[in-house]
């Protein structure tokens, strides 16, 4: 594709983020409100790059305690032990449920890491005005939006373990602070993906040749 793409912004139009209606805004500085739904119009999400970076960095910081701190404490008559996320994965693997161990390893360890690196990659390429692999980068962004929620699996598993195992003093399970950090990572990465604006991937191609396709 070598033509300059006719985007809404280039032609002086703006599409409403809420309802999708295309309109000509009141002015370039103050686009005004959508005539259909009344939502404030924006050509691009405001401060998308700064906000996404801030959320990505915060999530990366929370990722450490999320994996180092225990998430569950199991108490029986004779013993008391705590489990980290990785500890739980290892335990599942050694007890023979390698498929569940694999699911948890992907959901809890790899998805958050993949999401953070993918967002950092998108941010860096957008800031470097890259025009390469646009379609792949767009696809990466969409894929990330879909898989992000699955890292919440371990928190759900912990919640139900805590909810059901109340056979004191025989057996009881209690949450530990790692759960909080882990939920924080999931929420922050979801918010980070939402604050990013995928249209920025394509903006650098305006007036240049698109090297993919």
């Amino acid at each position: 594709m070598t033509i300059t793409a006719r985007t809404a912004m280039r032609e002086g139009f703006v599409a409403c983020d809420a309802c999708g209606l295309l309109s000509r805004p009141a002015g370039a500085e103050e686009p005004g409100r959508c005539p259909r739904c009344g939502e404030e119009l924006e050509f691009r999400r405001r401060d998308a790059i700064q906000r996404t970076w801030a959320l990505v960095i915060t999530a990366a910081i929370c990722y450490l305690p999320a994996n180092l701190l225990p998430i569950l404490r199991t108490t029986t008559l004779t013993s008391e032990k705590t489990d980290t996320i990785i500890g739980g994965v290892v335990r599942l693997y050694t007890s023979g449920s390698w498929y569940l161990a694999l699911i948890l390893l992907i959901a809890s360890v790899m998805i958050p890491l993949a999401k953070l690196s993918a967002l950092a990659y998108l941010l860096i390429t957008v800031q470097g005005a890259s025009v390469r692999n646009n379609r792949e980068r767009a696809r990466l962004y969409r894929f990330m939006e879909i898989i992000g929620r699955w890292s919440m699996v371990d928190v759900f598993a912990a919640t139900f373990a805590v909810g059901i195992v109340r056979l004191r003093p025989l057996l009881s399970v209690a949450p530990e602070p790692g759960v909080l950090f882990f939920s924080a990572v999931v929420i922050l990465t979801i918010l980070a993906a939402e604050s990013f604006d995928p249209r920025l991937i394509w903006d650098s191609s305006q007036g240049k040749q698109e090297t993919d396709d």
Partner: protein, 224 residues
């Protein structure tokens, strides 16, 4: 303010201007540049979605009222519902996590189903009042935070973990949750927000209009 026929759109993911062509039944239009799906043609979408939403509401109630699983160890028994898990998390000091779980597993799916029902009931006789537009926005937000399918996997994980130390019995709630996941997925894919938006009264009082000549923008036609 100038605006265009709703057939002309800018791709939400790459901002490319294009016209949505007349679609055959069951067809979809995708952005030729980035591949984002822009519109689907889904005749009877409103009625079908209504049926699915009612079924999802019933499955939602059963999922939340019935125990998800039971546990027995040395003659003692325990069982839990979603609310039970949330309450224990709260009581044991993890209040933020408890609120998040309640949001993802109960509140967001409830909003998703409830708002879709409210929208479908009001858009049957267009023009629908303006607050339906707010609901349409909230359905999208609630949908992105509703994680019943993730909860299901979490339950399975904890069932397998607990099976190593005690006898676990899946409850009625777990089967309702499977139904709820399928119905929610079917409901969101059959729901057509473009169709619903086209029936909502505009803030500026000028719409909805179904046809209005495009003002000179030559849009690319989206290809399947």
């Amino acid at each position: 303010m100038e605006f265009f026929s709703t057939d002309i759109v800018a791709c939400p993911d790459c901002d490319l201007l294009q016209r949505i062509p007349a679609l055959s039944s069951g067809g979809a239009a995708c952005c030729p540049r980035c591949g984002r799906k822009l519109a689907t043609c889904n005749p009877g979408s409103l009625e079908r979605t209504m049926a699915l939403a009612v079924a999802a509401a019933i499955a939602f109630l059963i999922t939340n009222l019935e125990p998800l699983m039971g546990l027995s160890l040395s003659g003692r028994e325990a069982s839990t519902t979603i609310a039970g898990g949330v309450r224990q998390m709260w009581v044991q000091g993890e209040r933020i996590t408890a609120l998040l779980i309640a949001l993802f597993a109960v509140i967001a799916p409830a909003m998703q189903i409830g708002f879709v029902l409210a929208i479908l009931l009001t858009v049957r006789r267009p023009p629908a009042p303006r607050w339906v537009g707010a609901l349409l926005r909230w359905v999208e937000i609630a949908g992105s935070w509703s994680m019943v399918e993730v909860m299901m996997l979490g339950i399975l994980v904890s069932l397998v973990k607990l099976a190593a130390i005690a006898t676990v019995v899946p409850g009625v709630g777990i089967f309702a949750a499977v139904g709820l996941i399928l119905l929610l997925a079917a409901m969101s894919s059959s729901f057509d927000p473009r169709e619903a938006w086209s029936r909502v009264r505009w803030v500026n009082g000028e719409g909805p209009q179904r046809t209005r000549p495009p003002a000179g923008a030559d849009a690319e036609e989206a290809r399947r």
